[in-house]
């Protein structure tokens, strides 16, 4: 029986879709059979982030309405063995799907896949309720900003009210230089406030923009620091014990030289 993991955040723009794409691809690279579901009906984006936008025929609404079979709507990612995408509808709205339909869909997909990763829309309304309905695990994505952390706290409360206990936290877009200056909350600060378990820290990385431009998830880029972070999170999802990446040591040689000559304050 597969696991259904919802990726949520409350606030928009913190990296839910990027996280979904990378973790899903990461799990497929580990040999798992994975389906990604985009539940952001009307504002779908997981398809473009995955680079599969030209292959959509049917979507999530077609499936729940019975206009097609699940198999017909699943887009097989030819680059990664075992990876599939169920795209959201673009010309409908969130009320086109209800939580009961999502539970049924997730239960059917569980039979077939190891992991079902659900990309949740921003907000706490219908779309959120749909996305969490069929899930048995939740990952909350936040960034080290007051607005994102506040919304994450609200989401944690709502997840627990909906019987999704022990959600895990990803702190995304961490900038070590700013943390060192005291201008960005540390991971410990955020955990202290949200009081939930951490599953990963993803550094701010230009390569994410490049990978999104190309529609190729960074998790497959061995040189990307964010990609490495996603690979680690992938393993933690699978139950492996991987220590949290020490971002301090990844300053790079230039940084160390500059620091040596007093050009960089730490």
């Amino acid at each position: 029986m597969g696991e259904v993991i919802v990726i949520t955040s409350g606030k928009g723009g913190v990296g839910k879709t990027t996280t979904t794409a990378n973790l899903g691809t990461g799990l497929a690279l580990q040999g798992k059979k994975v389906v990604l579901i985009d539940t952001d009906i009307g504002l779908r984006n997981l398809d473009v982030v995955m680079g599969l936008e030209n292959r959509i025929v049917y979507d999530l609404v077609d499936v729940v309405e019975g206009s097609c079979r699940i198999k017909q709507a699943l887009i097989k990612d030819k680059r990664y063995e075992g990876l599939y995408l169920l795209p959201a509808a673009q010309t409908r709205d969130k009320s086109s799907v209800n939580p009961e339909q999502m539970i049924k869909l997730c239960d059917e997909l569980r039979e077939e896949f190891d992991y079902i990763i659900v990309d949740c829309p921003a907000g706490i309304e219908q779309g959120f309720k749909n996305a969490i309905a069929g899930a048995n695990r939740a990952i909350v994505v936040t960034t080290p900003e007051v607005s994102a952390v506040r919304d994450a706290d609200r989401i944690v409360g709502l997840l627990e009210a909906n019987e999704l206990r022990n959600p895990r936290l990803i702190v995304n877009r961490v900038r070590i230089d700013m943390v060192k200056r005291g201008d960005m909350m540390t991971i410990d600060d955020i955990i202290d406030i949200l009081a939930i378990d951490l599953i990963g820290v993803v550094p701010d990385d230009e390569k994410i923009v490049v990978s999104t431009n190309r529609g190729e998830p960074a998790v497959n880029d061995s040189k990307s620091l964010a990609g490495q972070a996603y690979r680690n999170i992938t393993k933690r999802i699978m139950g492996e014990n991987v220590p949290i990446m020490d971002l301090e040591t990844d300053d790079g040689l230039m940084f160390k030289i500059k620091r040596l000559f007093g050009l960089k304050t730490t």
């Binding site: 080290p144 007051v146 952390v149 506040r150 706290d153 943390v179 201008d183 960005m184 909350m185 304050t265």
Partner: protein, 94 residues
């Protein structure tokens, strides 16, 4: 070094500490999730009890949920603050 010096002279706080403090305060309110109706109920009960002992100015009565610092440490806890102007203390209450 710049950062350390400004700290030494007690100047501006690191902005991340400001962020953390502000977040903690706002979350107390968010988490309490106290509805206006709930506060009205509490207000009604408080008035009922107090009017047994004193005449109060009900129109100027103000009850709200805020936060306060604990005496022992830096910890911030939610607090129910009531401002109740007294017109006259009844004899029976003395």
């Amino acid at each position: 070094m710049l950062l350390d010096l400004s700290k030494l002279f007690g100047k501006s706080k690191a902005s991340k500490d400001v962020a953390k403090e502000r977040l903690k305060l706002v979350l107390i309110h968010d988490r309490a999730n106290v509805s206006p109706q709930f506060l009205e109920m509490v207000k009604g009960e408080i008035i009922k009890v107090i009017t047994n002992y004193m005449d109060i100015d009900e129109s100027a009565l103000d009850i709200q949920l805020t936060k306060t610092k604990c005496d022992d440490e830096e910890r911030v806890v939610p607090a129910l603050v009531a401002n109740i102007p007294i017109k006259n203390v009844k004899n029976s209450g003395k």
